[in-house]
Amino acid sequence: MAEKLLEVKNLRTEFKRDKTWVTAVNNVSFSINRGEILGLVGESGCGKSVTSLSVMRLLARNSKISNGEVILNGTDLLKEDKKGMRNIRGREVAMIFQEPMNSLNPCMKIEKQLTEAILLHNDFSKEQAHQRAFDVLKSVGIPEPEMTLKSYPHQLSGGMCQRVMIAMAMSCEPELLIADEPTTALDVTIQAQILELMEEIREKKNTGILMITHDLGVVAEMCSRVVVMYAGRIVEEAPVKELFAAPKHPYTQGLIASVPKLGSGVESLPSIPGSVPDLSVMPKGCKFAPRCKYATDICREKEPELEVVNGIHKCRCHHFKELGKEA
């Protein structure tokens, strides 16, 4: 049994909107083992990023985590004070963001930004920090680290910026890396390179990675387990092969069906009708019921629980037993 690195239990995050609190993430629980890549999938606005920001405790001021635990290496991050949290950020958990070109400070040379993170968490001299920055840039596959260190972000390409960002995130060798759609803004060849790099990091450093994405291709390639989120809830959790082979939740089925396949000859892509419900006007029963073609009366009345399908495969649907056979 692999060692648990991060365990999120019953996380609930709320936002204040027009003086009322709306729930963006509700009752979310998952865990990541050391050296494991967990995929977090869902469409825009389903609470993926809010979940990751809750783990980092980087939420905006108009929000609060009202319930739950985020246990990293045995310590509950939600109980840490500001200073403790600063020490954890960067050193134990680091984050990579969606837009590499905007993730780097345009006014600072790469060297300064990289060494900043290194010096924050290590008792290094400037030379040592420079050396570490050099090494870490080299390890993310940047051909001329010395030259890159001396450049400004606008002189680098998107792929290079993302490599620098990964280098920055990895510079203090965190045990958990949260990647919030790390390849969305990059073109396909660069995407492949970046994903390969992350896989390499996982292998070498035994880092746990939380991969947030809406790209199922990335999930299939990288992750060992997948958590599917919809409207702030986990609707399905399964090992990656099982999820793609036998998706139980209608939403997951819809997601997988809507991925274009080469040579399938289908003229129009199947899609899920409707859109994510607004946070303040959530349907009463199953949150997916209004868009679900299998929905029955019970779906509209009562919200289903996250039930075990088999082993670690879980699904939040009243009808998964019947649907599973169909699919």
Binding site: R61, R89, A94, K150
Partner: protein, 300 residues
């Protein structure tokens, strides 16, 4: 042709190896700035005035306080190109030497005001909430007064004199800076790289000074340049009203004030200081405009 192209590429490559494009950003800026003729002319004029402020006492034809009782209130002539005042002092010499007092007063006042405004603006924009409201409402109160009136009020409270004029001018520079820097701070604060810095464990104070502050420098430079013009005008006005420099000192405002008594008989005593103040303020404003247009990526 092909030959030149390869040469160019090689040069580019060589430059990139030494210090990639860091230089070329300055070059690019200079190139864009040079296209704005009015700004360039303004800059040259300002540099000339600054040069005068430094070297005037050594190069002007007469000492600024040297009276010549044989030539009182004379109009422009070969001996005194901008005429003489009631004590027979050379107006040109006095103005050139006077640029020292007027410019330094305006500059010091603007620097102090900028420093105060920038710190307040950064704090207000970055921390938001109550601190923001408190600072901005105080600025609003100061905004409610016309600039000069505020400066007069300040001088009236702390008393006349050059130093107090500087303080007064600095005080009314603060709110406009605070407001501009606050809005710049708010926009920089929301950028992703600030979030990244936070995700790496940076402290608020560090994020503010290392990551946010540099992003506001651009608006600071532009506003600083423009405020110098305003400060010169304000300092001269205060001197003109008798709050600032002593009338015997060679200060532009004070000279204007002195000449007022002889407006009918010796208009040159008012004309030349007036024109000089006008041109200097105009030059600073045009330079500020030029800088803003050059620095603003949307304008290109």
């Amino acid at each position: 042709m092909a030959q030149t192209n390869t040469n160019l590429d090689q040069n580019k490559f060589a430059a990139a190896e030494e210090l990639p494009k860091a230089q070329s950003k300055v070059k690019e800026f200079t190139k864009k700035f040079m296209k704005r003729k009015t700004a360039v002319v303004s800059l040259i004029f300002i540099l000339f005035i600054i040069l005068m402020a430094i070297i005037a006492p050594f190069v002007v034809p007469y000492a600024p306080d040297q009276p010549d009782y044989t030539a009182l209130l004379q109009g422009p002539s070969a001996a005194h190109i901008w005429g003489t005042d009631e004590f027979g002092q050379d107006v040109f010499s006095r103005l050139m030497v006077g640029s020292r007092l007027s410019l330094s007063c305006a500059l010091i006042a603007t620097v102090i005001g900028t420093a105060g405004g920038v710190v307040l603006g950064l704090i207000a924009g970055f921390y938001g909430g109550f601190v923001d409201s408190l600072i901005m409402r105080c600025c609003d109160v100061l905004f409610a007064f016309p600039d000069i009136l505020l400066a007069i009020a300040v001088v009236a409270i702390i008393g006349p004199g050059m130093v107090n004029v500087m303080i007064a001018v600095a005080v009314f520079t603060v709110p406009s800076f605070a407001r501009i820097i606050r809005s710049a701070t708010i926009s920089v604060k929301q950028s992703l790289y600030v979030e990244v810095a936070r995700s790496l464990g940076c402290k608020n104070s560090r994020i503010l000074f290392v990551h946010v502050f540099p992003g506001t420098i651009q608006s600071m430079i532009v506003n600083f340049t423009m405020r110098i013009g305003t400060a010169i005008l304000a300092a001269s006005s205060l001197s003109f009203l008798g709050f600032g420099a002593n009338v015997t000192e060679p200060d532009w405002g004070a000279m204007l004030s002195l000449g007022r008594n002889y407006l009918n008989t010796a208009p040159h005593m008012v004309l030349f200081p007036g024109i000089l103040i006008f041109l200097t303020v105009l030059a600073f404003n045009l330079l500020g405009d030029g800088l803003r247009d050059t620095l603003d990526p949307k304008m290109n």
